[in-house]
Symmetry: C2
Subunit: 428 residues, 2 copies
């Protein structure tokens, strides 16, 4: 039987409390699985007196997370405070400098400072683990870094923000507008204190940046992500997409191309019959494609006390067993700097527009599309009241450049009754 592994937990919000709860209730099971005890040496949070529903007696207390990170009786510093800078980063750096192993759930910190933190941890020979930073309880990091270690990863896609998927799903089932459902989700406490992190796609993009680094052996490059939130997804588009057999998802896609690393986080259409299309509510899904394994789909809760604490405990258990490796799967100092590339590969697109209700309007649109080299796969004109005629088009595969030319030419026809909406249809 080895020595107990002693944790210092900074941050006692939902996730921190979940970790404390698991360590208390599953002590015997953990000891049987690990051959050693997991102990909490000390904790740190904003308020010492707050009742969090778990007893903290017997644990040391630090007001300052940096002091917690460097305590002699702490083997592993568990950073669950969040925030890309500030106390989280200071305490993480202090823990690494003090030779502590580190576990964090902080996707923002890793997406922005991951490279320097990884280099520091590797130079010091300590682990920096972060299963909880991506997709909550789904073991995405472990699957990518270990389970598929024999693969050249070709693409990773995912719905990685449950709040956005909740909003999009609820819009579809209720027929209500984005604004209505945003207010509903906010009222239910489903959104971050700064909701822009969710609906602007930033939180999901943080996760995508981390995934890209592991998948492709490149430095984390959050700024290289082509980012678009869900704020402009209209109920009309959700309804029209459904009518054509698609769902709209805030989809992250990362893949290495000959021109560089393509990272996109944007609303896309996916077939309603695909696993991603069938994903409803707050659940997350990550689809990993490798040259040997083909396609692996992972699905589970992307947030919440239990799932996120489960992911933290996976890291705790790995450290307890002495399993470690480079932070992003390859030594950080040797990671290549990715060239950010925008997608130039052809894709099908969904176009929704409204035409003035005059003879020949539709023909004009079809003509300019054809002239731009954009071929129409399906087109629907709905029964309507004058003066506007709603039109839906699904194109064959085309480049974004050709599509932009077509969109511009459509404006010039004078038959549009509003600005067209164009959304990429992702092959999943």
């Amino acid at each position: 039987m080895s020595e107990p592994l002693r944790l210092g937990i900074a941050g006692l919000g939902t996730v921190g409390v979940g970790v404390v709860r698991i360590i208390r209730t599953q002590a015997a099971l953990l000891e049987a699985r690990l051959g050693r005890k997991i102990e909490i040496a000390a904790v740190s949070a904003r308020s010492k007196s707050k009742d969090r529903g778990v007893p903290l007696t017997g644990y040391g207390w630090e007001d300052d997370p940096v002091a917690l990170a460097t305590r002699d009786d702490v083997d592993v510093f568990v950073e669950l405070m969040g925030g890309e800078d500030g106390p989280a980063k200071a305490a993480t750096e202090a823990a690494i400098a003090a030779g502590k192993q580190v576990i964090t759930a902080n996707k923002a910190m890793l997406a922005v400072h991951g490279q320097t933190l990884a280099e520091a941890a590797e130079a010091k020979g300590v682990a920096l683990k972060y299963e909880a930073a991506v997709a909550g309880g789904i073991p995405v990091i472990k699957t990518l870094m270990e389970g598929l270690a024999g693969n050249q990863i070709t693409r990773v896609m995912g719905v990685m923000n449950g709040s956005c998927n909740y909003i999009l799903t609820r819009m579809e089932t209720s027929g209500k507008t984005y604004q209505d459902i945003f207010a509903e989700a906010d009222g239910l406490g489903y959104l971050e204190a700064d909701p822009q992190l969710d609906v602007g796609g930033i939180d999901a993009a943080h996760k995508l940046a981390i995934i890209s680094s592991i998948a492709f052996g490149t430095r984390v490059d959050f700024d290289g992500i082509q980012l678009e939130g869900i704020e402009r997804v209209s109920i009309e588009d959700i309804t029209a997409a459904a009518d054509m057999g698609y769902k709209i998802k805030l989809l992250g896609v990362t893949q290495m191309t000959g021109r560089g690393l393509e990272q996109r986080m944007q609303p896309c259409l996916v077939p309603e019959t695909s696993p991603l299309g069938q994903l409803e509510g707050g659940t997350n899904m990550v689809v990993i494609e490798g040259d040997a394994v083909g396609q692996i789909v992972l699905r589970g809760a992307g947030a919440g006390e239990g799932p996120t604490a489960s992911a933290v405990m996976s890291d705790v258990c790995d450290i307890a067993k002495g399993s470690a490796g480079p932070v992003f799967g390859q030594p950080a100092a040797g990671l290549a700097t990715a060239t950010a590339a925008t997608s130039q590969r052809p894709a099908a697109y969904y176009l929704r527009t409204a035409l003035v209700d005059k003879p020949g309007a539709l023909a004009k649109i079809a003509t300019v599309l054809g002239e731009a080299g954009v071929s129409i796969n399906r087109m629907r004109q709905y029964e309507h009241e004058a003066p506007e005629a709603p039109v839906l088009i699904v194109t064959h595969k085309t480049t974004r450049a050709a599509l932009d030319t077509a969109l511009s030419a459509m404006e010039d026809t004078g038959v549009l009754a509003g600005a067209p909406v164009a959304l990429r249809i992702e092959e999943v």
Copy 2:
């Protein structure tokens, strides 16, 4: 840079060739990820001269896998021959005795001899790893043993034999009988040399036995599995189930109850809208439920060269990094012997029968069901030609004992025109 890790690969069928191919084509990537080279020291197979599409020059050759397993230049013995006894077991035992690490894809051997092999490996201090033994490329073992190590596992379910799922899916889409589609699958080479391993549910049950051991800390107990294959699933049931909103799957379910370990592998109905219900063709899916994480769904290819070799390589990479632990997640010597329990928890059931076409026949059936305490949720009688009236019933939750009483009483009514079919409806 550490020393190279030297493999001895026994068995050069589909999976063995896939492993050789990955090691040859991904050498640079593996070295970057692992900080050491992966080398093939020697191989063993039935025929030395057969052209397998990958060059074997530069590798040592052994006719006898036992000789391969004990070679001085082999660090890891990779057993890809298959078969629960015979050369696979002899060579695995020899490798362990010689202090070699072992990787195997052999579910049959582990399901039957897993306990003794694990005890031997742990006594010798060597790894015995088997990611490829369960669900092909899906990292089920790693997810259960490491990714969800902080969870008390409550239930694991899965479709773990792609051939059976192919047959059931093809029956539904084609409307053809089991016999027709079995012949089709056999002709396409989708079935084992002994097809009973597939369609009898034995192969999938081997996998379930391994999963149970990890999930519940019990000794592998293949004999404790309640096992039923797909041979008796009729096209009539597939069609009728679809009409009621269900799919029929060969579903493995394992859970620990107060009375013991319930392990079932049998055709069940699942809602067509559930992830399991939506699984088509040869794909596998494993659903893991833990007290903290909730439900995690893993989906991917359950067989084939690339996916299975990918799983073997996951084990190779773990051993290269020095990550190891007890074979079934807890020291084998301390694993409890499971008490095999049959399910006594209530479930809904699907009943299909045909009645003689006489007034009052349906009432008689409804009456005996009620008298047995079996409550009807939905009932459908289809338009029919005399003299037989097909009837479908979905019951509310009831015990199997009550259902058996009802089935017996139904026979006694004299209004049945054939033996009723009863299938469990699984809550997924």
